[in-house]
Symmetry: none
Subunit: 179 residues, 2 copies
């Protein structure tokens, strides 16, 4: 019985060890997946995951209006350009001025500019007009849920009321969902 007890004890130790190993492997796997999804990926040495927005030379992006001596002039000194190789803005710590990138959905971009919000893995892609940023970069395909079919009319009072109702933390009252 003493032997059997020790065998038992050994068995428990092995079981415990196995348990710990299997759980650890599972957690490692899950963590690896989570990390891969969240962290900026370093795939091949020459491919980098970045977050890209569009910008123009205009006042909404640069604070400068046409007529300003530096209007349309990038940090590097070259003029903004949307061409085969366009001028883009980046964090020069990551991509020094003159870095040539290929950006899927945009084309070739050369780092010519910087920006106060363009830090780390953020880049800004130059477009000639605000409309082009909206149309060529700011488009998303989404699946919208139709909660209520409109009657063809909308009143300010209805819009105020439904906003107040939701603001108060309530679900949308059924009366607002009936057409």
């Amino acid at each position: 019985m003493v032997t059997s007890f020790f065998v038992m004890k050994k068995g428990i130790t092995v079981l415990l060890l196995l348990t710990v190993i299997v759980i650890a492997l599972n957690i490692t796997d899950c963590l690896a997946t989570a990390t891969a999804a969240a962290a900026p990926k370093q795939e091949k040495t020459d491919t980098v995951e970045v977050i890209a927005t569009g910008y123009t030379a205009g006042v909404e992006s640069t604070g400068k209006r046409p007529g300003h001596p530096q209007y349309g002039i990038t940090f590097s000194g070259v003029k903004v350009r949307r061409d085969q190789v366009s001028t883009i803005a980046a964090d020069t710590k990551l991509f020094p001025i003159g870095t040539l990138l290929y950006i899927p959905g945009y084309g070739y971009g050369v780092v010519a500019d910087t920006g106060s919000a363009i830090k780390g893995n953020r880049i800004d892609l130059y477009f000639e007009t605000i409309k082009q940023v909206y149309e060529q970069w700011g488009k998303r395909t989404v699946h919208v849920e139709v909660l209520r079919k409109g009657t063809g009319k909308l009143s300010q009072a209805w819009l105020n009321k439904i906003n107040q109702a939701i603001e108060a933390g309530k679900p949308i009252p059924q009366t607002y969902l009936e057409s």
Copy 2:
């Protein structure tokens, strides 16, 4: 000792059970994450796929400047609004004025406006500023290819030449890819 043996056996059973539960939970968790990330969603009958862009009340979107009598007034007559329920533009043949949608990544939107380019499954989401359209709707995560690391300088002549080379339909000459 017999009691102790049974207690041991019971202990192992409990341990084994716990192991199975913990592993199962870990795997379920991982699978759920993978499914949520990868699988195309089963659409309910009241879900519609649309292409969504952002817009503002400003001149770049509406042609109207502050001071214009119709500035900030939607087709329906209500004022533009970014709130719990925001005003959006749609093709009224598909979504009549007053239609209430839930738009992932934006929130609730009520069809209040129209637009010359907003036909069929296109919708326009109202934002208060151009910057908000860029930052809150016009952001993409992309994998960029680094073709050449910059030297910290960029000349107009280099940019002109590389553009001419690509314009001529040639691949980028090797000399442009060396830092």
